[in-house]
Every structure is written in C-alpha cells, then in structure tokens.
C-alpha cells in the first residue's frame, strides 16, 4: 500500500520527462531485440539443420565411408581398398542387423541438356532402395527399380529445380534429356529436400540415375565414395558398428597393426559435429547481444544518475517530509526496473514482429520458450542491477544540502 503510493508518486514525475525515459528504455529495447533475434536465429538454423540431418541420417542408420579421410567425403581417399557394391552386399549378408543399403556417389558438373537448354548439375547414383534409405520418394512418375539397376538403364530422376529450369511448365516425365551428351529418359521428379545440412548443396538442383549406369557410363569405375545402411530399428547401433568394423577389417585383410581404411559414421556423431558447427549461432551471436544489453544497462544507470541529480530537490524534499532512505531507494530502484520492464516488453514485441517479417522472407527462426523467458528475465535483472547504484545514491542524499538551493 505504502510502497504503491510512493512508486506511483515517482512515476508521475518520471512520466514528465518522456524523451529521457525513452532513451533509458532504448538500450534495453535494442539489447532485448538483439538477444531475442539472435537466439531465435540460432534455434531456427539448428532446427533446420537437425531436420535436414534427420532426413538424411534417419535414426537407425550407419554411414560407411571409404578411406580414413574426412567424414562425408564423396571422393576417393588415397587408400587402395575401395568400397564397392559387392562390399555392401557382403556386409548385408554377414551383419544380421543391417537391412538395406544405398550408395552415396556424386559426380559434379554434369552437362544436362534439353532442347538446347543446358545446365550444369550434380548427379547421384542410386538403387531401387534409394527412396527408403534416403527417405526421399518421387512426387511424380516413378522411382528407380531393381530392373533399372540390373540393366544399367538410361533413366533419370530430376530434382524439382532441375525440372523447372529445363522444362518450365511442361511435364518432364517420359521426355529425353542428355547427360554429358548421352540421352536419358526422365522417369520421375524427386521430392523437395532443400539444402544439404553438411555441405550446403541444393539437393533439389540434382538428378539421380541408377548407380550401375553411373559406374558404367559416367565414371567407368565400380567403387563408390560412401554407403548408407539402414539398421533394424531395435538393433543396438554401437554393436552393429562393431560387427561391421570386424567384418570389414577381415574383408579388407587388414593386419592388427593397420588402421581402418574406412569410417563408420552414426547419426549421433553427425549431430555432435553439427552442434559444434552451430556454435557460432548459438553462442557468439547471443554473446554480442548480451554485450549490447550490458551497454543498455550502463546507459540506464548513467541516465538515472543524471535524473537523480536533477531531481535532488525532490529527493531532499521527500526526505524532509518523512521518506526514509529505504523509501527513496525503493522508489528509484523500481523506477529503473520499470523502465527496463517496459524496455523488455517493447523489445520482445519488436522482436516477435521482426521474427514474423524474417520468417515470411524465408529465414528459419524459432522463438524457443527459453529464448522468450531469457529475453524477458535478463533485461529485468540488468535493470535492477543498473538501478542499484543510482537508487543508493539517491537514498544517501542529504536533504539539508539539496534543499538549500
């Protein structure tokens, strides 16, 4: 009741200097918006990457990559032992928890032509299992069949962007296009997959042909860069990896002192790697926002100190009329905190608005509950901290001195 009256009385004076109060809030508003947006941006990118990773590295899967080289490398490493489809078949026979596989073999800069229009794109080699293994079906026409693979058929599946660039509004199914001057029949259109989380490649600007066709007509080699295996859902992935390792070492006739000439990658490992890559968004940007908010806190503090200097008569008067030091302290602390509160609420409002605008323009942004909470609590904490010094100064003013003027 009493605090209520004191605070109300302080506000009616604070509200008279609107511009000053606005500038006090401005620092907090900027900090809140920056924190909110950067965290939403980080969360949005993370979720986008994760969903893209989930799509590519569905939960129960293991990647087998040739060589001891960099993870996910599509090119051959310098080791002699190559991964072939025969390796994959042998693994499938010997490791019971493996269900299906599909190769990951890419060739870039394939000249793709239709009726005089030429674009350069990447081609992937796949099998009839591709739709299941990569969780990517066709939206029109049909996917590769085992017959396409066994006969090295000259058929091709187009990404949506390839179909659009070459065919525009026409229906591509059944049409002949040329890949490096060899005719292929368009069999289907691949589901939209967006950007590749790991390499940032546009997965819709690519084509897929049977792996057999690729090795015999485009690469003239029968080995592949990597293979993806689906593991039985209830199988222990770690144990599967161990079994695969043991088999492959025998299959490649590696001695006890020789290192693996292959790598096995699980979704868990990939997520960890992406997590590290994502640190820029999730740590660095909010850190910058925090600094902005800290500066906002200092601005509030300094402006409040000026405010107190200007209002020293008021403060002395309040004390002469019966305000205790505590009453003055509380009044000014609440004034500063309230300005921060207004700044936080305004900042969140602006943040949400900008989030809508960014999202409409295709930027992946997600306001997680903890982002909203932090963007609200932190400015308040900073406001209270920034208010302590000025409020303390106000409480210690000597009424005799301030009332002499």
């Amino acid at each position: 009741m009493k605090v209520n009256r004191i605070v109300k009385s302080g506000f009616s004076i604070l509200s008279q200097s609107k511009l000053r109060t606005f500038f006090m809030a401005l620092g907090i508003i900027v900090g809140t918006v920056a924190l909110f947006l950067s965290m939403s941006f980080g969360e949005g990118s993370r979720q986008k990457m994760m969903s893209s990773i989930d799509h590519m590295f569905s939960k129960s899967s293991v990647f087998l990559v040739s060589g001891g080289g960099a993870m996910m490398s599509g090119q051959q490493s310098s080791t002699d032992t190559k991964l072939t489809l025969a390796t994959a078949e042998a693994l499938l026979e010997n490791v019971s928890s493996l269900m299906l596989y599909d190769p990951l073999q890419v060739i870039g800069a394939i000249e793709t032509t239709y009726q005089g229009k030429t674009i350069e794109i990447s081609a992937y080699g796949g099998t009839e299992n591709a739709s299941v293994v990569w969780n990517r079906d066709v939206i029109r026409g049909e996917h590769l069949t085992s017959k396409d693979v066994s006969s090295s058929a000259r058929v091709v599946l187009l990404g949506t962007k390839v179909a659009e660039s070459l065919f525009g509004d026409q229906d591509p199914i059944g049409k002949q296009i040329r890949l490096n001057n060899t005719p292929y029949e368009v069999k289907g259109i691949l589901e939209v997959a967006g950007l590749d989380a790991v390499h940032g490649l546009d997965r819709d600007n690519e084509v897929m042909i049977p792996i057999s066709t690729m090795t015999s007509r485009l690469t003239n080699i029968d080995y592949v860069g990597a293979l993806k295996f689906l593991v039985e859902t209830n199988a222990d992935t770690e144990q599967t990896v161990d079994e695969m390792t043991e088999f492959l070492r025998g299959y490649h006739k590696l001695g006890d002192d020789e290192l693996n000439d292959f790598r096995l990658i699980t979704p868990v490992a990939v997520e960890e790697m992406i997590g590290t890559m994502n640190e820029t968004f999730s740590v660095l940007l909010p850190l910058v926002a925090l600094i902005a908010m800290g500066v906002g806190g200092i601005v509030i503090s300094v402006l409040m100190l000026m405010n107190i200097k200007e209002r020293s008569m008021e403060i002395g008067l309040r004390k002469a009329l019966g305000a205790r030091n505590k009453d003055v302290f509380v009044q000014f602390l609440i004034e500063t905190s309230s300005v921060s509160l207004v700044g936080a609420v305004t900042g969140l409002g602006i943040g949400f608005f900008m989030l809508q605008v960014f999202t409409m323009h295709g930027q992946a942004m997600v306001a997680a509950p903890e982002t909203i909470l932090l963007s609200f609590i932190l400015p308040l904490v900073i406001g209270v901290l920034a208010g302590i010094l000025p409020a303390n100064k106000a409480a210690k003013l000597d009424p005799i001195v301030t009332l002499q003027a």
Partner: protein
Amino acid sequence: MIELNNISRIFQKDGGIEVKGLDDVSLSISKGEFIAIIGPSGSGKSTLLNTLGFLDRPTSGQYLFGGKQLSGKHTSALAKVRNQEIGFVFQSFHLLNNVTALENVELPLIYSDKKDIQKLAEAALVSVGLEDRMDHKPNELSGGQQQRVAIARALVNQPSLILADEPTGNLDSKSSDEILQIFNDLNRQGKTIIMITHEAEIAQKAKRIIRISDGKVVSDQPSLTVEA
C-alpha cells in the same frame, strides 16, 4: 514541548577548520508559541531550524521533543518524526513542478499510514483557500498561492510543529501578509510555529523573537505585538 540544553553543532570544513553553527544554545519552547528567529545570514538560524526539524543532528547537547530525547535515534525513526510531528515551509516553496497542487500536498501522506490521502489533501488545500486551484500545477499559480500550497502540505499530516524558513522571503508584501495571516490563524488554533526571517517587521508578527548571532542566542524576548 521543546527543550534545547547546551546544543552545539560543529561543522568540519576542509583543512580541519571547525565552524560552530550552533554554540551552546539552550531554549525552551512551549506548545502554542509563535516564534520568530532573526539574525544575520550565517548566524546559525537555519542550522537551528534544521536541528529542531530533525534534519540535522547536534554535535553535543540535549534535545527533548515532547519530553523525549530523539536525536540519538536511527534516521528511519527520525524520518517518521518529521513526517508526523513537523511541517516544513521553505523560502523557495520547494514544490514539485511536474505535478498538481493536490499531488504536492499528498506528498507527506504517502509516507504516512493514513488512508484516503486525497480527501485529506483536499481539506488542507481548502483550509488555505485554494479549493479552486487543486488541479493547477505550481507554475500556473502565483508566488503567494504556491506558498499556500506549501503550507497546506506542511499541515496535511496534522503536525504539532510548523518550521518555516523565510516563508515570505520570495513574496511581495501583499502575499506576505496573507501568509502571515495564515500562520496567525494556525497559531490561534494551537499550532506551534517557528519561523526564520531577517525582516524585523515580519518578526513582529510573531509573539516571541529570538535573535541569534555567531551560533549563540543573543536575545530572547516577547514581540511588540504581545507587549502592545
């Protein structure tokens, strides 16, 4: 009501020089008195008033207020005494310019436990003849009206003692007369009033005149008004 026994107030200036604001002052003031304190500037008038109003603490001596020694108490306790027992009136009014006359008068009440503070503030403004100026801000009022707002503020918490520091110092003679008339009326209603002034004519409106010089009481006698 008030007993000052051998009160001294010593200020420490830069370089270790000691200045005696009050030097061994002893005074006795009864309830219902109207006292003018006069003396040259720097004589210690204001220090005496600040001491009486619990804004300043004496360096030595005994100050009994209503028979109790309060000067040793904590600042919070003294704030409560100021709030409930003392009304201050200042030369330059010290009104808050951004808020209305009514809100200015409410100011002491917000630090009290009283309820219905708006009604009490309105009544105080009515008692100084400003019933039609309640929603005006100080800069919309004349000097005399502003000082009346300040007096209403000093009265609103029903204090037993009014301390006025040159209350007419910034006013023309007509407004000064109005203010002194209000003090007279208040005194007749039983309020104790202590007023600083440097004008002999103003001092004569009080009943007792205490002259101070160099921190000492040099004379203490009834005014001519009383003698007449």
